[in-house]
Symmetry: C2
Subunit: 280 residues, 2 copies
DNA sequence: CGTCTCCATACCTGCAGGGTATCGCCCGTG
DNA sequence: CACGGGCGATACCCTGCAGGTATGGAGACG
């Protein structure tokens, strides 16, 4: 099976509409129809049910969509990683969402640079939730992401376990509380409610909270972005979130291994009593 | 990058010789040379150093070989799994080496068949050490293999932890011992010595031992294949080997999940005091 | 220095894969 | 019930590239 065919199939399977898929692929509809038929003939299995309103996936098609995406990612990753390995100055690309490092990076990077296996680090700031994809398709070598993301295909190390806090406008009825529980926030406009605005980073979120548009429950490290017009209050019964460092499973890169070492050491130091004593 | 190009590259990288690779691929040498050049131009990186004696891999080429193999396996697996998902009667394919189930399968299969998610099981007997490959490229859905194999890309469950025993001909000088240590076997012709015959299953091994050709240290379950002309003696300081059940990471197949359930239950039952009491 | 061994280049050919035009089918609708 | 619109499939054409053969050219070696 050629990757082109597979990419064609994935496009159709995602659109469930040959015409639209063709448009997305920048080609005409008939050759795409034929390519899919060829693929079905070669595999000896029907991938779509055709109706006059579009197409739907058969069980075989559903499996191929799932596995095919991973396979395409693997091919992309192979190409990208090969190219990068061929560059004269090797680099390590770290991906995280905006403010996704919980302030850890400033400790990690100096520590990493002291490692003999260290190479130059390039930090790639992705959209929220996109870190895993960039790691899968080879655009990044390591990723910082929350533990509840899909981590299949990665080796991982938990760096921090974070309690959650509510972020409230200063004048909010709960703003004076020492702590609260999730039930206290019932009825408040929440982040991720339908119709709530898309938030791209913590600064934006703080802005929205300050304006009274919504309240949010976020990991405690968001406090670092605190501003005078918002208040953070611990939420006692919110599940903790973990910050995880992930890298391709079975990676044998010395640069990656060194970065993992530096990160875990920085993270444990960050939580140690020593530092707690300094900051209090 | 097309899978064909990638397969071409892998062939050349493995042979380190364009002509031989072309032969292996069933094509002439010049188009293969050009295909590699095209690939290099597209990626913008040299994959081989050309000499008059053959070709050698650049760092980029080494990475592409490693990652490319996995990617090709992923593509194969996608196709194979899709085809199988499209078959009218779904099947679960289990791969193991000859006698690789430590006698567990006869307990697992009846248990599995009682599960509502169970489907027909096909047992594929592979060569020793080939189980992981068949699982990676989609020819099998689950595998029984030793824990020291490369398990990247799989989810796993340890089924049994096995002590090792020495297998000796009946008249051997150590045959009467209650137990022995590895050092006792120094100087004996061992399995895996260079020049030792290829062994395909335990029966063959037993035959060779009986003939006095060699002695072997194997997991204790090999006792089940015992014969009157060989003796097994515990080896106290040999590392234990684990029998592992593996399946593709992140698999969401109900049939696989049910098989894992049945296997772990059968394995724990197998080692429980209850069964020990029955067999003693 | 000639020869052998490889990989690269030159040149040719067939077909895979893409484009346009159009068909046939199903469905909603006046 | 007839008609129009939307969708995938088919017919037909054309181009570019993958692959073949013949040959060049550069290093290794006796």
């Amino acid at each position: 099976m050629e990757t082109r065919e597979l990419a064609y199939f994935v496009a159709v399977a995602e659109e469930l509409h040959v015409g639209r898929a063709a448009q997305r692929l920048g080609m005409a509809q008939p050759p795409l129809s034929r390519a899919i038929q060829r693929l079905e003939r070669r595999l000896g299995v029907l991938l779509f049910e055709r109706t006059s309103r579009g197409v739907t996936l058969t069980p075989a098609g559903a499996v191929l969509l799932e596995e095919g995406r991973r396979a395409l990612d693997a091919v992309d990753a192979a190409a990208r990683r090969a190219v990068r390995a061929g560059q004269p100055t090797p680099r390590l690309t770290l991906v995280m969402k905006p403010d996704g490092d919980a302030g850890l990076l400033e400790h990690v990077l100096p520590l990493y640079r002291r490692d003999p296996d260290a190479v130059e680090v390039e930090v790639l700031v992705s959209g929220i939730g996109e870190q895993a994809q960039l790691l899968r398709d080879g655009r990044a070598d390591v990723a910082l992401l929350p533990a509840h993301d899909d981590l299949t295909g990665f080796d991982t190390e938990v760096l921090l376990v974070l309690d959650q806090v509510a972020v409230l406008p200063r004048g909010h009825r709960l703003a004076g509380r020492e702590a609260l529980v999730l039930a206290d926030l019932a009825g408040e406009p929440q982040l991720h409610d339908e119709g709530s605005p898309q938030v791209r980073d913590v600064g934006q979120l703080m802005q929205l909270v300050a304006l009274g548009q919504l309240v949010a429950v976020v990991p405690e490290t968001a406090r670092r972005n605190g501003r005078s017009d918002v208040v953070t209050v611990p939420v006692l019964d919110a599940p903790t979130t973990s910050l995880v460092l992930a890298w391709p499973e079975g990676s044998r890169s010395r640069a990656v291994a060194a970065f993992v070492r530096a990160s875990t050491r920085a993270a444990t130091a960050d939580q140690s009593p020593a530092r707690a004593a300094v900051t209090t």
